[in-house]
């Protein structure tokens, strides 16, 4: 493995007596897509909040591209090249879609001057298919488009590492396919992606590695096929029913050599 783009050691966060994230260590290689899964309340979003500086850490260190960012403020972490989307979309509601994306392009400070930032904002709108909505207020968008806006805003920051916190929740099947294609395209640009997702089918088809959190601690980690067969993961999160179905589709795929499991 090449030198890690992100290296997390012993990350812990307590809320009073509750340990939301418990001694989590993980490492990301440049360019990989990693899935972060686990039951509700497992600490997935808290982990992202700790890494991106939105929550102070009780213990542990975070190194990004070799630099220690454990104690950095969220806006400084963002400017270094870590972007994130929020589980509950966070647009600047009374600004236009274009202005939202421009904010990412300008304040990240990673696009050079104003003209370059404007170009970048347009490019990201086009990339996410929002260019025809550029003049709308963010509050006028559908949920699917608001999720795309979160993506466009993050991309305009020219991130090296991107956390996607349930960007696909609440989307219908058609919207889902478009969103997945988009995520693949982002990865193709060389952005390292960590995706939090409850739809295991999506995870399995998208990522090269899965990390499972349970009660704030790392339960399992590895290739999707291995992790989703891990008995402890099945017991804690997946349940037997899905595990069987997943095993069936896997063996069917191996038999027919199809690219993706059919739904």
């Amino acid at each position: 493995m090449a030198e890690a783009i992100l290296d997390v050691q012993g990350l812990t966060r307590r809320f009073g007596g509750v340990v939301a994230v418990n001694d989590v260590s993980l490492s990301l290689a440049p360019g990989e897509i990693v899935g972060l899964i686990g039951p509700n309340g497992a600490g997935k979003t808290t982990l992202v909040n700790l890494i991106t500086g939105f929550l102070p850490k009780t213990a542990g260190t975070v190194r990004f591209e070799g630099r220690d960012i454990s104690a950095a403020a969220p806006h400084l972490i963002a400017r270094q090249g870590i972007a994130r989307t929020f589980q509950i979309v966070q647009p600047f509601s009374e600004m236009t879609v274009f202005e939202n994306v421009l904010a990412g392009a300008i304040f990240s400070g990673r696009n050079g001057g104003h003209a370059a930032a404007v170009t970048m904002a347009h490019e990201c709108l086009e990339f996410t298919g929002l260019d025809s909505h550029a003049g709308y207020l963010a509050s006028e968008l559908s949920l699917a488009n608001r999720k795309h806006l979160e993506l466009a805003k993050s991309l305009a920051m020219r991130p090296r590492l991107l956390f996607l916190d349930e960007v696909n929740a609440g989307l219908n099947t058609g919207e889902l396919d478009a969103a997945l294609a988009l995520i693949r395209n982002i990865a193709a640009r060389g952005v390292t992606i960590v995706i939090i997702e409850h739809l295991l089918k999506i995870i399995a088809s998208l990522v090269s590695r899965i990390i499972v959190l349970h009660h704030g601690a790392k339960l399992s980690e590895g290739r999707p096929a291995d992790v989703l067969r891990d008995p402890t993961v099945i017991k804690a999160y997946i349940g037997n029913k899905f595990a069987q179905r997943f095993a069936q589709t896997e063996s069917a795929n191996e038999a027919t050599e199809e690219g993706r499991p059919s739904p």
Binding site: R84, P91, S93, F107, S108
Partner: protein, 320 residues
């Protein structure tokens, strides 16, 4: 299109400056006084608009920083400083004072911030009432009287105050078009998202607060030089903390023209009501203000622009 707009803006600005000069030279003492008060409220409204309008933090602290400027200017002048020097000194003092206070106050949002700023006004008035060695307490402070006939002095302060209001307007124009102003608008709508895109939220908020409060303090210092006597109740008048946000809301918060338009409407209403309802002045003015804000909550300027653009749309529809 854009150059045409710029030409109109410059023409409008030039007309405004010429009208102001013409008014200052020809107006009688009563009108000159009214014009100076208007200019003072325009300056305060522009100062408030930075924090209350662009950044969306509803401050009721105007009187605290205006009053701080009154006393800072008065103390500087009484220590021998010429008033031209006392005004920037008051602005600098206000900037330092608000930089310290802002770090505490701006940790609160919405109603909590509003209540915190009211508390600052009350604390300041108590301090000025009781710190007799510095402020002469409730007796108040006299300032050196400016030499010249009442008319000359009136004209001098009219031009100083309008020039300062114009400065506040230009500063607002600059902020509105800058990265700084864009950041403030982001903060107004979503602080978490703002820090996610890389905005140093606390630094932006404190900077806006400092600019706003320094403008208010300078206005207070000019006012103190003009009236040549200040006391705690006059300098830290909570009514000013209320009327300034009302002015900006009337005109349109977060707009370049909002404070100017709002101040003119407010002063016209105020004088109209004074003349016609002497006994019930405050009550009638209050009812009118509530009615205006109820029916046009976004302010007169936005309403005007909205109707204007509807008319334009009809024109283009006809043309097509």
């Amino acid at each position: 299109m854009k150059t045409q707009q710029r030409t109109w803006t410059i023409a409008f600005g030039a007309a405004l400056v010429l009208a102001t000069i013409g008014f200052g030279v020809t107006a009688n003492n009563f009108l000159l006084q009214a014009g100076t008060t208007l200019a003072m409220y325009v300056a305060l409204a522009y100062a408030w608009n930075i924090v209350g309008g662009y950044m969306g933090y509803p401050s009721f602290g105007t009187a605290a920083f205006f009053g701080f400027g009154c006393y800072a200017g008065a103390i500087a002048q009484n220590a021998g400083a010429p008033m031209w020097l006392a005004w920037p000194a008051a602005a600098l003092g206000g900037a330092i004072f608000s930089a310290v206070l802002g770090r505490i106050l701006l940790g609160m949002r919405g109603h909590y911030f509003a209540i915190g700023t009211i508390a600052v006004v009350e604390v300041m008035r108590e301090v000025s009432n009781n710190w007799e060695a510095l402020t002469a307490g409730a007796t108040g402070l006299n300032l050196p009287i400016v030499a010249g006939s009442p008319r000359e002095v009136g004209m001098l302060f009219f031009f100083v105050m309008t020039a300062f209001a114009g400065f506040a307007l230009l500063l607002t124009l600059l902020i509105a078009r800058s990265k700084f102003g864009f950041g403030l608008r982001c903060i107004k709508q979503n602080e978490q998202a703002a820090s996610m895109v890389g905005i140093g939220v606390l630094r932006y908020k404190v900077a806006a607060f400092v600019v706003s409060c320094a403008l208010m303090s300078a206005t207070g210092a000019i006012y103190a030089s003009m009236v040549a006597f200040i006391n705690p109740d006059d300098a830290f008048n909570i009514l000013m903390s209320i009327s300034v946000p009302v002015i900006v809301t009337l005109g349109g918060a977060g707009l370049v023209l909002g404070p100017l338009v709002g101040a003119v409407i407010y002063m016209v209403l105020d004088n109209f009501v004074w003349i016609n309802f002497i006994n019930y002045h405050s009550a009638v003015l209050g009812v009118i203000i509530i009615a205006v804000i109820y029916f046009i909550p976004q302010g007169v300027v936005r309403e005007f622009v909205k109707r204007g653009s509807v008319l334009l749309r009809r024109d283009t529809a006809k043309a097509a």
